[in-house]
């Protein structure tokens, strides 16, 4: 009881720091995660390079979505989740007890599997992130910048006040990407962003992802191996919560080192 009280009144400590090698934006260090008693992520180590696209592939239920949600502490919203290990972002550990997970999520944006725009107007959707983070920015400017960056500006510039749910599925997903860009993140996580879309919308999103890497570090989870091969610079293969292989995309697809990776890529299971 008294210990808890002292904990509550503790002076904020300085966060633990670590210099990352040049060109590395995020580093996952022996990261473990449990849902209740089941371990979903087993000591994963991974480096995410700056301004590159890293794809995470693997069969369903291998923990790839869980891992990517671990990179901006979205797993904190589930009460049964326990984590262990460190995730470094620019030298700060985002799992440090002094780190505010809300701050982390501003710096690490996320796009979800199903397009999930808010039932507000298009402009309000984009401005939302700035509003909740108290960023002092001109609304019109942010909206225009983000919509242009996500190649949606020409399609919607005349109806910014319309409800976002009136857009098509592909447009909604690009709006979600635009919305994630508004808080000026450094890393963007995409959790199977094209799984609910048709091939044409998918192609547009893939082009967009390729554009984004000039300004951001992108991590994308996909169950579509062609997509991983098309868009990514680096690929990670996960199986049953473990990171089996991680490397250059061309190397992974043309010359996989592990037996299991080869089996998955050639379509023999998964």
């Amino acid at each position: 009881m008294f210990e808890k009280f002292k904990e509550l009144l503790k002076e904020e400590m300085r966060c633990e720091r670590k210099e990352l090698p040049k060109g590395i934006k995020m580093q996952v260090e022996s990261f473990n995660l449990w849902y209740g008693k089941t371990q979903a992520i087993k000591s994963v180590n991974m480096d995410l390079k700056e301004n590159k696209i890293t794809a995470i592939i693997g069969p369903s239920g291998c923990g790839k979505s869980t891992l990517i949600r671990g990179l901006n502490r979205m797993n904190d919203t589930i009460s049964s989740v326990k984590t262990e290990g460190k995730v470094w972002l620019d030298g700060f550990n985002i799992y440090d007890s002094t780190t505010d997970c809300v701050d982390v999520r501003r710096q690490v944006g996320m796009v979800f599997q199903k397009p999930n725009p808010f039932p507000f107007s298009i402009a309000d959707n984009i401005y939302y992130g700035c509003e909740v983070n108290g960023m002092k920015v001109e609304k019109d400017e942010v909206v225009e910048r983000c919509l242009k960056q996500s190649a949606l500006w020409d399609e919607v510039k005349d109806r910014l006040d319309e409800n976002a749910l009136s857009l098509s599925g592909g447009q909604q997903q690009r709006l979600c990407i635009a919305r994630a860009l508004a808080t000026e993140p450094e890393v963007i996580l995409m959790d199977e962003p094209c799984s609910a879309l048709d091939p044409i919308a998918t192609a547009k999103i893939e082009d967009l992802i390729d554009e984004l890497k000039n300004h951001y570090t992108v991590v994308i989870v996909t169950h579509n191996m062609q997509q991983a091969a098309r868009v990514s610079d680096y690929t990670a293969y996960m199986y049953l919560g473990e990171l089996i292989e991680f490397g250059d995309t061309t190397q992974i697809f043309e010359n996989p080192q592990e037996n299991s990776t080869e089996k998955y890529i050639t379509g023999r299971f998964g």
Partner: protein, 407 residues
């Protein structure tokens, strides 16, 4: 040690204590003296001054000024309350109340206490987003507590005052000398008979209608109109049902004679929409694929309904019906002019004879309070009625939780 957090915690403690004292004083109509009120508010104010000055010294932003401002307001409220008269006679403005000053004192202690503890989360988290969040959570806890308080007050009072009246005599005797002695045996039986007859009338009618609406009717204008009519009937005040029951069943059908059947018919009309709606909901919760699968195997429509649709929706239908009957058991307005007498009706013997029932018994005893010594009997009747009605509701909830189907 972090001094900012320590001061905030101090503010929170002081304010909460003041709020609790204010609530206690309000509930017990304690005669709060001016000096107690003044000390309490000055304490809060001083803590906020302290916090504001410390914040201004360390951070030098506007938030410190904001806290000083709030502290001054609290101090001003404390100071100006000195001029409240001992009893504020509102009759000078033609309002029928004479409000004593301690009422204002305890009320402002309650509200200022809660508000001050709410604000104390901001300095604790150094005016970050998290402070607003924790403050809001705190207010939500408070509303939850205030929502639960009436429930506890009601349950406590009924159990505390009524339990002594529930004796063997009370449960097995008829009324003796206008309810001063004796009990409620005929009224218990009357209420049970009323529910039973109502169930017999409403079950086939309600469930049958729901099956037709959910399974057979084509979704068109007619069904929409029927559904709206059912909704409106469900929202109609029970006294309107009573009025209808009196004018139609009693005056026209039964020639001015109150009777069990008239009451049950009125209650059946009251519960009909509840049964229809809950049964329809339960039927609609069964996915269409299951029906298609059964039909594709060559089953007829009735076989499909009987074997595939009804079994999983039965708990839902039952829950709705039981809840409806529970409501009917506690209703007074629909039966008081259609079925019940306070005394003399005896145990129910025929559908065409009047009965006694618990809710009306409680009403009649309430009217006798002050003229006759029936207090204990009245509280005991309230307790018994509560046990019966809540017992019915609890069994409905148990049915729902136990047999809940997930598709």
């Amino acid at each position: 040690m972090n001094i900012r957090k320590l001061i905030s915690l101090w503010i929170f403690t002081v304010s909460t204590v003041v709020a609790i004292l204010g609530f206690w004083a309000l509930a017990t109509r304690m005669d709060v003296e001016y000096w107690m009120f003044f000390v309490a508010l000055t304490l809060i104010s001083a803590s906020y001054y302290l916090s504001g000055i410390y914040h201004h010294m360390t951070e030098k932003d506007m938030n410190g000024v904001f806290m000083l401002f709030y502290a001054s307001i609290v101090l001003m409220v404390a100071a100006f309350s000195f001029y409240l008269p001992e009893i504020l006679d509102m009759r000078q403005w033609e309002i029928n109340a004479r409000i004593p000053n301690f009422f204002f004192y305890s009320l402002s202690m309650l509200f200022l206490g809660i508000f001050s503890s709410y604000l104390s989360f901001r300095p604790f988290y150094n005016f970050k987003k998290e402070g607003a969040q924790m403050g809001a959570y705190y207010m939500l806890y408070i509303t939850m507590i205030f929502t639960l308080i009436p429930l506890f007050v009601i349950l406590f009072n009924i159990v505390y005052r009524g339990a002594g009246g529930i004796t063997w005599e009370f449960l097995t005797e008829d009324i003796i000398s206008m309810g001063e002695r004796g009990g409620v045996y005929p009224a218990i039986l009357g209420t049970l008979a009323l529910i039973l007859v109502t169930a017999v009338i409403v079950l086939p009618l309600g469930v049958g209608t729901a099956i037709y609406l959910a399974e057979y009717a084509r979704k068109g204008l007619a069904v929409r109109v029927i559904r709206t009519a059912v909704n409106i009937l469900q929202g109609t005040p029970s006294i309107v049902h009573g009025l209808f029951g009196y004018a139609f069943f009693v005056l026209i059908l039964f020639d001015g004679q109150k009777c069990l059947l008239a009451g049950a018919l009125t209650l059946a009309i009251l519960t009909l929409p509840i049964v229809i709606r809950s049964a329809e909901e339960a039927l609609n919760a069964v996915p269409g694929d299951l029906r298609d699968a059964s039909l594709a195997l060559g089953a007829s429509k009735w076989q499909t309904i009987k074997k595939v649709v009804l079994p999983p929706s039965l708990p839902g239908i039952l829950t709705g019906t039981v809840l409806g009957l529970g409501r009917a058991a506690g209703e007074t307005a629909p039966i008081m002019f259609t079925a019940v007498y306070f005394s003399g009706a005896g145990t129910p013997s025929s559908l065409l004879r009047p009965i006694q029932a618990l809710p009306y018994h409680l009403l009649s005893l309430y009217r006798l309070i002050g003229y006759r010594d029936v207090d204990l009997q009245a509280w005991a009747t309230a307790l018994l009625l509560l046990i019966i009605v809540l017992g019915v509701n609890v069994s409905a909830i148990i049915i729902r939780e136990k047999y809940r189907q997930r598709f």
